[in-house]
Amino acid sequence: MSAVADVPLRPHRGVTASGYLVCLGGIVWRESLRFLHQRGRFLSALVRPLVWLFIFAAGFRATLGVSIIPPYETYILYEVYIAPGLMAMIQLFNGLQSSLSMVYDREVGAMRILLVSPYPRWFLLVSKLVAGIAVSLLQVYAFLLVAYFWDVRPDDAMGYLYVLPALILTGFMLGAMGLAMSSVFKQLENFASVMNFVIFPMFFASSALYPLWRVQQSSEWLYYICTYNPFTHAVELIRFALYGQIEWTALAVVAGCSAVFLTAAVLAYDPSTGLTARRGGPDAAK
């Protein structure tokens, strides 16, 4: 037996203040490693919005006129209009994809390893969210870099910096939404179909592809759906932030939805209110 083997593995000192940071760092580190190993995921996360930008926007540039609406002060190309929507789309996909990995994790048991950590469950879930946001920011800025060379860029280069807090907040909202949803599904198949039922309706019934006044012209009820769609507010928050402005309604909606979705996720993953409540307890047989 070597000397190392004889070193006793003394009990660690348990939950500490600095341990919270170590725990958060570890979760973000693992998520980043996993992301780097999944090159296909990164590529598809990048190609998807670029297809919309290069093909869809180019095709529709002639047919869809965008009048001057805030935050724009001049006529803009359609590509410029849809860029914030595509950035939000990257985050929407990423948020749901992280949740997909939660469902997958739960199936292979890695989620169990996360949940037997002595740190509070809400903290573990928030850390998982932060890790997802970090990955989504990487994807969004990679998209912005390519878009820059396609002449899709904010008026002021500072826009890239201004948009960062907005992206963190929208990433938080969409990630928390995915997290709350993931707790409901036990199997990947269910979740895959929900992706279709969630992503596409959320994306199309929003201001991502067309301004809301355009929507109102064609359908009043669709306009209301778009107005109440949190994704619309995520898009608008990003759009205004790119131009150094704050859209207060969007900010309030995104912050409010983030709080609601996160609360739902924490409750769903809490052993006393979530899994146990649904999956059994001492009285379930009575």
Binding site: G14, C23, H37, G109, I113, S117, P118, P282, D283, A284
Partner: protein, 250 residues
Amino acid sequence: MTAALSVEGVTHAFGSKKALDDVSLEAPAGAFTALVGQNGAGKTTLFSLITRLYNNRSGSIRVLGYDVRRTPAKALSQLGVVFQARTLDLELTVQQNLLYHAALHGIGRGEAKRRAEAALTRVNLAERAKDKVRALSGGQMRRVEIARALLHGPSLLLLDEPTTGLDIGSRRTLLEEVRRLIQQDGIGVLWATHLTDEIAAADRVVVLHQGKVMARGTPQELCARAKTEDVGAAFMSIVGETPEPRKASA
């Protein structure tokens, strides 16, 4: 002395099916306790309650005296778990898997590396630290999971049917290593299994059947009760019996 694990009067049901019915058992420190039961006996449900995947809403579960419901942080930091399903990240290296687990327990990078090396050496896999988990055999993966469970220096090691899918040689190695850990570190082990040949003479045995504790004691005591010399035969005989009345906590 405080037991590494103490379960008292725990009942748990899923819908109309009672998975656990008034279960009480103890796993002392420095001893190997075999939780023996057939598939569906309630072993995994009990493990889920001990690890707080579900809350126990009746009875109490204590790890080294800490109640898992009231003081989950203290209880979970004393607990090392090897789940029935494989829980390693196949794309990451052995060391990366261990460092991630250490971070979940708030152990900083430098100390985590030292602990990872010590834990891997304990299961004779130190030289595989930089290999991807995917490259390991089933038995080696299990040993890495044991090393991972030991990283934070737990007082109690839970293993849920860890030999499932392993060949005879790997099973024997795994059992030998876990028994050596008990000698070396003095930790308590609760080993769930449906294979009675994994039980040794010095072990403590708890027989779980259809959610109820049917018997507990040394293998010799179980054999005497069933009037047989074979532990397997004793087990089969006992699960045909009616459950013993619940004992007051020790």
